[in-house]
């Protein structure tokens, strides 16, 4: 899962960056970014545009500016500055010159673009009563490049797979930016496609993708490969979506991201009562920290999960810290393992 050193992964991400992302940036920015790709900045995770501020390229462990010579530089002084015009043009291009058609997406704060990349938006919120109606005067864009990493969950899968068609209920615990969603996506793909190496046959997977992060749907079609037996419900609140998917798509497993809101506990119990397995994730650094959050704590006390998988980034994003058995709360494997 560690990036940069892996040549093929690097090439793949760079080509998606060139084909899917650069054409949507304003000409000036696209040229500047295009020129620094391949100058040893590794696999980018974020491109940040802020009005009248330097452009920042974010790698997994450090950030770069674009110097006046067009080369990556580590100092902000004299580096490439993004203008308000750049941002406006970029938003117009990303919304295919049709902001009205992307209103729903802009209102929720991000646009999904081709290739499964997601663009976060900051600006001035226009309110309609208490809900956000739209965002105007957009002043900040965060282009989060999606790096699909095939096979990153193989080590974890051994602990999730129960028999050749059954799996354990699993909770993945990880701090932000440690590859939680990437691993969840790879798990979905492997469970749906089957893992011949482990004698696992593909099962029906339903993804409830509240924040469009796992499958990154563009006009309903997943931009990320989430497997051939996977159905995706995009943009739907988890607690409603889980119930809907059980009824409508008869899945064997439901996969969803970032559990812990009000109503999630009831929804998870609904899933289990229907005889469907669940794999989900939660923000946190370890299990004891999770317990401070009521909704998750109750799920832990209910002994809903059979496996807890804790990740951190001590050796790059997606490092496996420990796997804990949900019944006995015994550590099954610890940090002595390799990065996943």
């Amino acid at each position: 899962m560690r990036t940069g050193a892996d040549g093929s992964l690097y090439a793949k991400c760079t080509s998606s960056l060139k084909n899917d992302v650069l054409p949507l940036l304003s000409k000036r920015v696209a040229e500047a970014v295009g020129a620094v790709i391949g100058h040893g900045i590794g696999t980018l995770e974020e491109i940040r545009l802020r009005a009248e501020k330097p452009l920042i390229l974010q790698n997994y462990d450090r950030e770069w500016f674009i110097g006046s010579d067009g080369l990556p530089s580590s100092k902000p002084e004299g580096s490439f500055i993004v203008t308000q015009d750049d941002i406006r043009t970029t938003v117009e291009l990303m919304s295919e010159n049709s902001i009205y058609a992307y209103q729903e997406a802009i209102r929720s704060g991000y646009i999904t673009i081709k290739g499964g990349h997601r663009v976060g938006i900051a600006g001035r919120a226009v309110l309609d009563g208490t809900s956000v109606k739209s965002i105007k005067d957009i002043s900040g864009l965060n282009i989060r490049l999606s790096n699909q990493i095939f096979g990153c969950s193989l080590k974890i899968l051994r602990y999730i797979i129960k028999s050749n068609t059954d799996i354990y209920n699993t909770l993945i615990i990880s701090p932000p930016q440690c590859g939680k969603t990437t691993i969840l996506r790879d798990i979905a793909r492997n469970l749906a496609d089957g893992v011949p190496g482990m004698g696992f046959r593909g099962i029906k997977v339903a993804i409830v993708d509240e924040r469009s992060e796992i499958a990154a749907c563009l006009k309903g079609v997943p931009q990320n490969d989430v497997g051939l037996r996977t159905d995706v419900l995009d943009g739907c609140p988890k607690n409603i979506g889980m119930k809907m998917m059980i009824r409508s798509m008869s899945p064997k497993v439901i996969i969803t991201d970032e559990i812990g809101n009000d109503g999630d506990r009831e929804a998870v119990h609904n899933v289990l009562n229907a005889g469907v397995r669940i794999i989900t994730s939660a923000h946190g650094y370890n299990i004891s920290e999770l317990k401070s959050r009521k909704e998750v704590l109750m799920l832990v006390e209910d002994k809903v999960f059979d496996r807890y998988i804790v990740l951190d980034d001590s050796r790059g994003p997606g490092t496996l810290k420990e796997i804990v058995d949900g019944r006995s709360m015994k550590v099954m494997t610890g940090a002595d393992q390799d990065a996943v």
Binding site: T89, N97, S98, I99, Y100
Partner: protein, 172 residues
Amino acid sequence: MLFKIIGSIIVILSCSFLGYILARDCTKRPQQLRELQGLLQMLENQMTYLSDVLVEAFERISRVGGETGVFFKTAADILKNKSAENACFAWEQAVNRCIRMTALNREDEQILLSFGKSLGNTDLEGQIKNIRLTLGQLAIQEKKAEEDRKKNENMYRSLGLIGGAAIVIVLL
């Protein structure tokens, strides 16, 4: 004498034909203005109910056809091959390129150009307001054009005939 008669008939016929063509242009303009209003109404529906992006909406509209569909077709083409920076410029180019193919006049052109100014770059509410405003302006233009038509259509027709007759009389 025979030649004179034949010549006179040719002169009268061609003059009245000229008058007829001018008169037809008068009928075309209100027709096209009406058609344009219909197309804009379609655009509004597509934005509201289908959430089509501009290129898709324009292409669908241009397939409905009509002589004013050419604006939408051209703008869609420009947007697709990315020769304009945004929708506003694409529309402006399309209007400039195609206005001569239609019977629309300067005033109509100005209305179309100002319609393009906020094309695609606001939320749905803004788009609808913009379309409604343009529809209102076009309706006024249509009314004016209709009055012009009534006034001029007959005038051109009879002027053609009378003009031809006058030439014949002078020449004879």
